[in-house]
């Protein structure tokens, strides 16, 4: 693991596997979308609008997963001071923010025909909204601090404090107000979704995950390049 975390090795490796990751992402999207749009049945109550689930639910899973990943990267960056860990957290944040926005946006589009309103102050919507703010705050702190090493430590602290807060926010808003349906895919008593709808959903979730992996590899590689450029420029100034 340590070997692959060397920035130089990482760039080589990322460049080598990226085409395959993109290909896998495309294949998964084709299968998932075919299942979502063609083979899965319309809902007996919601009709065709239920198909929004295939883009909505994976986006919210990813938004949560990416924030947890950022917290792990940040902890590694703080504890082991590994240069790639903070770059990984930094480059994951905008992607996570976009997934979070997608989840909110598709949820809003779905909410209009189902609940009759674009937005309700329901617990899950509120906690996703707060998650979005945490993403924005994290991105803002990176932008506000010029020195990258300092920014890395501060941003890692911000991410970790936010990560501690996410479950608390979730339970407090649950307690506060609930209209959204409860989780129906992952639960102890087994999924309550019919198989014809479950498999496209899971394939879409995989497709989204692979999309994130591909985007993250590209972003992280770009971040490594940016730092190299910065170091070269600093070296040039020093040599003059």
């Amino acid at each position: 693991m340590q070997k692959f975390a060397n920035p130089h090795v990482f760039v080589k490796l990322a460049t080598a596997i990226l085409p395959y990751v993109w290909a896998l992402t495309a294949i998964l999207f084709v299968i998932g979308l075919y299942g979502a749009l063609v083979t899965s049945p319309p809902d007996y109550q919601q009709g065709e609008t239920v198909r929004i689930i295939y883009v909505h639910v994976p986006a919210s899973w990813l938004a949560l997963m990416i924030y947890s990943l950022m917290a792990v990267f940040s902890a590694v960056a703080l504890i082991f001071r590994h240069p790639l860990a903070d770059a990984a957290a930094k480059s994951a944040a905008p992607i996570g923010a976009v997934f979070c926005f997608l989840a909110l946006f598709t949820g809003s589009v779905w909410g209009k025909p189902m609940w009759g309103t674009w937005w309700v102050w329901d617990a899950r919507l509120t906690s996703m909204f707060v998650l979005m703010l945490l993403y924005l705050g994290y991105i803002a702190i990176w932008r506000a601090i010029d020195d990258p090493h300092r920014a890395a430590s501060i941003a890692a602290i911000v991410a970790l404090v936010g990560a501690i807060n996410v479950p608390i926010v979730k339970y407090s808003v649950d307690w506060w107000n609930t209209l959204h349906q409860p989780a129906s895919v992952f639960r102890m008593s087994g999924s309550t979704i019919d198989k014809s709808m479950l498999w496209p959903l899971l394939v879409m979730a995989l497709a989204y995950t692979m999309l994130f992996v591909a985007l993250h590899l590209v972003a992280l590689r770009g971040e490594v390049f940016l730092r190299k450029i910065r170091n070269r420029r600093l070296a040039e100034v020093r040599n003059k």
Partner: protein, 220 residues
């Protein structure tokens, strides 16, 4: 321990002399005037939303004074010296955050509920709101300290502090409001107070760690 009490006394003196509290009270009053102007002078409506408005005022006032916790000592180099003492830096930071609570959070928590009478707050609710705000303001001050520490080295950090810290205020606000209005629904009273206390205790532990780490990153 002596140095920590000495530091706490210094911070309290500074805090009371710098007049952050007066400005914060002025802010609260200004907010109170704006509420009926923006929502209309309907007394029934005002009475219903008054606890929420007072909480919002408390929360924003504590947030807006977060800069004064570390900024000056950071700029004049006092914090640099404090990191070199034998006292753990986390304790020093905790003393400074506590001083902020004593000089801003706590007085505002005591003042805000009676000021709510201007918004036709239900007077029988006052004791519960006081109790809830006492606990809540401690958590608010501790979280504000994180905001102050994370932006200590930045020129104009106040907007950024709001973006970073307001999401962290969500649980405090939810349970603070629940506890404040619990005289209307007595069964929810004890759990809300218990959770509010738990949040306050948790921030008391997390905040010094986070603040010390952030300040050290700036001082390095």
């Amino acid at each position: 321990m002596n140095s920590v009490t000495a530091l706490l006394m210094r911070e309290l003196r500074l805090g009371t002399r710098q007049g952050g509290l007066g400005t914060a009270i002025g802010f609260l009053l200004a907010l109170i005037v704006l509420v009926p102007l923006s929502l209309g002078p309907d007394l029934a409506l005002l009475s219903r939303i008054a606890p929420g408005i007072m909480w919002l005022g408390l929360l924003l006032a504590v947030l807006l004074t977060s800069e004064q916790i570390f900024q000056q000592d950071f700029e004049d180099g006092s914090l640099d010296l404090m990191t070199m003492t034998a006292t753990p830096f986390e304790l020093i930071v905790l003393a400074k955050a506590l001083a902020h609570w004593f000089t801003v959070g706590l007085p505002l928590a005591l003042l805000a509920p009676p000021l709510g009478l201007m918004l036709n707050i239900d007077a029988t609710q006052l004791p519960t709101i006081w109790a809830a705000m006492l606990l809540g303001s401690l958590a608010l001050s501790m979280l504000a300290a994180i905001g102050g520490a994370v932006t200590a080295g930045l020129r104009r950090g106040s907007l950024l502090v709001s973006l970073l810290i307001l999401p962290l205020y969500v649980p405090v606000l939810i349970f603070g409001i629940a506890a404040s209005t619990s005289s209307l629904a007595p069964d929810t009273s004890l759990p809300s107070f218990a959770i509010l206390l738990a949040i306050a205790m948790m921030t008391l532990v997390i905040s010094p760690l986070a603040c010390a780490a952030a300040l050290k990153a700036y001082l390095r």
